[in-house]
């Protein structure tokens, strides 16, 4: 092979112009559902993704749980009952379901979105009758449930094929797909910060060709910013996060530059990053592996208890609510009312005392046959990052769940609390945004519209985040709203100066000889985040950190080179992270209190969650200067909105009574 020549045609000088009703930035789960629903409403649609839409995004490689399916025929939990959870969680956000609007949209439409998947050819039932007679299977509908077998609000699905099916459907509906195009800026009317969004520009990460998109409505469906603190070029490369590696925060950075408001950006949590073991690939009892028996090195079983500490004698009881409990969930740190069964909470102490000896093992052979097959054959067989990496590779290496016990990661005894994935112990200054999929993002209303005209958001781009089903449902909702908006919107005009100035900025790294590579820039800005916006923050550290980021932008970032369009993508992602770092530090400066729920410690404001600060901090740019305001956590139920979820949904969902899409 000729190691010098780039294998793709180089077209830095070519410009491709596209004009559509609805532009979707990010072709993950939210983006694909948005494209399908906008196209169904007659809009011309373009979907743009840095990867290939057939598999791109955090949900691209598959999904096993379909959450919030409150309207499935077996569910005993209503959307109103599910969304009550939000009011009981800190800052009105839950760890997987997002804020109140996101959670309610998911509860109302999750099952309809799943029926959409079935219509596209997805398997959402046990049609092969492999699980006849299983406790988690409904014999009539053949639906299969996870976690709470009495209330049946979460489904087990064969999600490995979902993304390719979505891709095929949106193409059949006539949506234009732009694979391998990284969007770098939102275009605004007259190029003004805070103006109506009228399109975007980007470049092809293989050929370097420049793209200009003109759109009456734009939907941002990019992921939450990741690897802001945590980046290692060695060990296991760049692979340590659960969400897609491409999630640099492109959407947050371009929205910020366009003048949109962002919220919850100061939320973060320690994360072991590249030191983590494979997600779902070592023994554990949670999430995809719920509720696998765990034994110690001598085969001694770790007991399960209900939320009151009462021992659960049978495996079946691990899937049942406590006496008198309406239903349960299994997200981290839930209020008592929603707390489900767990391994004994004092397991760390009982390991330290020698009662249980490490290493621990997931005792699949001890599980009833249907549960064992569901955990390893169905869930691990379909979840993202597991079908090939774990199911295929482990079985090829001889692992057999009928006779083998998978070892749990060996870690500090304190880390054996009951939580998704025992992967590795995190170092406090190495962090990720949010805590799971519940990070900061765009502030939005009941139309899933952001603070800018013409700009909508969905999925994990929403402040408060979203899991797979919440991304699917907010995606289809935002697609409807954007299509309806495009129908009545006046023609858009883009400002050529804005396009030209972005073109100059984007290609600067490929014009440079020498300088520094993107990995050094990326590692350097992560160090600034660790040092000045890490475990403990203060006004002084944050202001110093902002100075450092600004200085790096003026110096090292101006020296960063890219030798081909792929390196250009990575270099521009590092510059995106410089911007996201600034957003996070500005939001962190504005919150003058510490908060447990936000993973936020201010040395100069040590009081934890004082009532005065139970509110959202929003930040935006105006004339290049950061502006801050605070918003009530329940803003979605405060005037001018209606006081109930149902009324707001009815007014804004763009669905008539009985209409499902």
């Amino acid at each position: 092979m000729d190691s010098e020549r780039w294998p793709y045609e180089i077209a830095y000088d070519r410009t491709v112009e596209t004009s559509v009703d609805v532009l979707i930035v990010g072709g993950g789960i939210a983006g694909c559902h948005a494209a399908v629903s906008a196209a169904r409403r007659g809009a011309s649609v373009a979907v743009v993704d840095k990867g290939a839409v057939v598999r791109s995004g955090s949900g691209g490689p598959g999904v096993d749980h379909w959450h919030g399916a409150c309207t499935n025929p077996c569910s005993k939990v209503s959307p109103e009952e599910l969304v009550e959870l939000v009011g009981h969680c800190d800052f009105g956000v839950t760890a997987e379901y997002g804020n109140g609007i996101t959670c309610y949209i998911m509860a109302k439409e999750s099952y309809d979105a799943l029926l959409d998947m079935e219509d596209m050819g997805g398997k959402i039932r046990d049609v092969d009758d492999e699980f006849v007679g299983a406790e988690f299977r409904d014999e009539e509908t053949k639906l299969m449930f996870a976690y709470d077998y009495e209330n049946k609000h979460c489904l087990r699905v064969h999600g490995w094929e979902f993304k390719p099916l979505l891709h095929r459907r949106l193409k059949r509906l006539g949506a234009q797909v732009f694979d391998r195009v990284m969007i770098t800026t939102l275009l605004t009317e007259e190029g003004k910060q805070g103006g109506r969004v009228v399109g975007a520009t980007g470049f092809n990460v293989r050929t370097g060709a420049f793209h200009v998109f003109r759109a009456k409505a734009t939907v941002l469906t990019t992921g939450q910013p990741l690897r802001l603190w945590n980046f290692l070029t060695e060990i296991q490369g760049s692979s340590g996060v659960h969400d897609a590696l491409a999630c640099a925060g492109d959407g947050c950075a371009m929205a910020w530059n366009a003048g949109a408001e962002l919220a919850l950006m100061e939320k973060s949590a320690p994360h072991a990053g590249s030191f983590n073991h494979v997600a779902y690939g070592s023994g554990n009892a949670h999430n995809t592996w719920y509720a696998c028996s765990i034994v110690d090195v001598n085969g001694k079983e770790v007991p399960w208890v209900d939320r009151d500490g009462k021992a659960l004698e049978t495996v079946s009881e691990r899937y049942r609510p406590a006496p008198g409990q309406k239903y349960f969930l299994l997200m981290p740190d839930l209020p008592y009312e929603y707390r489900g069964p767990s391994l004994i909470p004092d397991l760390p102490d009982r390991i330290k005392s020698g009662e249980f000896k490490l290493p621990l093992y997931a005792d699949l052979p001890a599980m009833p046959a249907h549960e064992r097959r569901a955990i390893f054959g169905l869930m691990v067989g379909n979840e993202g990052l597991t079908r090939i990496p774990v199911y295929a590779n482990y079985t090829a290496a001889g692992f057999d769940p009928d006779v083998d016990m998978l070892q749990a990661t060996v870690q500090s005894p304190d880390a054996y609390v009951f939580k998704p994935w025992w992967q590795a112990t995190a170092v406090p200054q190495l962090r990720e945004t949010g805590r799971l999929v519940d990070g900061g993002g765009l502030l939005f209303d009941w139309d899933l519209k952001t603070s800018l005209d013409g700009l909508y958001a969905a999925g994990n781009q929403l402040c408060g985040g979203a899991d797979h089903a919440a991304s699917a449902t907010t995606g289809r909702y935002a697609g409807r709203k954007a299509a309806d908006h495009a129908r009545v919107a006046v023609e858009v005009k883009i400002a050529q100066e804005q396009v030209d100035s972005e073109r100059d900025r984007v290609y600067a790294p490929v014009r440079r000889e020498g300088g520094i590579g993107w990995k050094e820039l990326q590692s350097g800005l992560c160090r600034v985040m660790q040092d000045y916006c890490g475990e403990y923050k203060s006004a002084e550290t944050l202001k110093t950190g902002l100075e450092w980021l600004a200085s790096i932008r003026d110096s090292e970032a101006e020296k960063t080179y890219a030798r081909n369009p792929h390196e250009l993508m990575r270099a521009l992602e590092a510059m995106v992270r410089l911007t996201v770092g600034e957003i996070i530090m500005n939001a962190s400066l504005a919150r003058e209190a510490s908060s447990r729920a936000l993973g936020f410690d201010r040395i100069d404001y040590p009081e934890v969650d004082p009532p005065d600060w139970n509110k959202l901090v929003s930040v935006r740019l105006q004339d290049g200067e950061p502006l801050v305001r605070t918003i009530p956590c329940d803003y979605h139920l405060a005037a001018p909105n209606h006081p109930t979820y149902e009324e707001n949904y009815r007014e804004h969902s763009a669905l008539d009574e009985g209409q499902v899409r």
Binding site: L245, V278, A374, Y391
Partner: protein, 112 residues
């Protein structure tokens, strides 16, 4: 023996490995990869070049879309390989070991 000046090898591992005899060079793996870890070979018909293994997310989509079984493998690096224990016999195994137990050929639910 001759010694040579050579830059350090790219880390962390190959991530993706090909069997050149089985691969038909269709580039499907490179074109579904979310991170462009591989690029097309300049010679048509040859398997892609793993240019950026350090950007691999280990999602396995490349393997899942390969039309020629066995032509491509995705491997976790040594630092991510796990172990297990056979319950009845107490034997310990691990991914990557010499003389592994026989493969378990049962497909996932719904088949491959």
């Amino acid at each position: 023996m001759e010694a040579r000046m050579t830059p350090n090898p790219q880390t962390p591992c190959a991530a993706v490995l090909f069997d050149a005899a089985l691969c038909n060079g269709c580039n499907r793996c490179a074109d579904v990869c979310p991170n462009d870890v591989m690029v097309h070979d300049l010679d048509k018909g040859k398997h892609p070049v793993v240019l950026y293994p350090d950007e691999c997310w280990f999602c396995g989509c490349c393997v899942g879309h390969c039309p020629k079984p066995g032509a491509i493998r995705m491997e976790h690096p040594l630092s991510l390989r796990v172990g297990w224990k056979r319950k009845e016999t107490g034997e310990r195994f691990r991914i990557g070991m010499k003389n592994p137990p026989s493969p378990n050929t049962r497909p996932p639910v719904g088949g491959w």
